[in-house]
């Protein structure tokens, strides 16, 4: 599964994207955020406040309770500031 990061999430994690193999038991977006946060200091730093992180699965916004089965691409980013 491909993970993509934007803005300060990307800067803090230190890379724009990566392919990951998820361990068993990671079913929802919230599970994914919790697992990622445990992967090292840079992830801990980026995902310190998981509630503020916005998530898109296959380029559509989703909530943190969304199931991630079947996702090709999951993006994590801060609240948007376009317009």
């Amino acid at each position: 599964m491909r993970l993509i990061y934007f803005a300060w999430v990307r800067e803090r994690i230190g890379k724009p994207e990566e392919d990951v193999e998820l361990p068993a038991g990671i079913e929802t977006v919230a599970d994914l955020l919790r697992w990622l946060k445990s992967r090292g200091e840079e992830y801990e730093n980026a995902l310190q406040y998981p509630d503020v992180i916005r998530v898109a699965i296959n380029q559509e916004h989703v909530g943190h309770r969304e199931k991630i089965a079947g996702a090709r691409e999951i993006a994590l980013f801060p609240p948007m500031t376009g317009g």
Binding site: I4, A7, H61
Partner: protein, 159 residues
Amino acid sequence: MAGAVVPAIRVQREDFDVAAEIAALTGGRADIGAVVTFSGLCRDEAGTLSALELEHYPGMAEAEIGRIAAEAVQRWPLQGLTVIHRHGKIVPGENIVLVVAASAHRQAAFEAANFLMDYLKSRAPFWKKEHRADSSEGGWVEAKEADDEAADRWKKSDE
């Protein structure tokens, strides 16, 4: 013709020409009675800002603006709709975003343009980073709660 409006959506590095975009919507037809345009520009924050860097999510940016535009076309009787959002480094005075909404009457055009901007601000995947005029490191612009509230007011009562 009802339901036939296909919004024109562009996410691009280059600048745009507001007059040319209006002409593209209205040229060769006589049924449009109202055109509302909104242009968002980069401001210099009283001389402290030298540029904004706009990061975006390629693919999703177009798709999300498309979803918002499709909803606008459903909710208001529009005869044309154009949305352009720039990315990359933009200096004060330059354009960032454009919405052009055309309709038979002004109310639909005003409301659709307003709705589009409120939703673009809180849902289109763009992020602004500041470059400061004094060369100190600028930060990421923080999302404003007021922008979320502005988008929420368009929610229908059954949502």
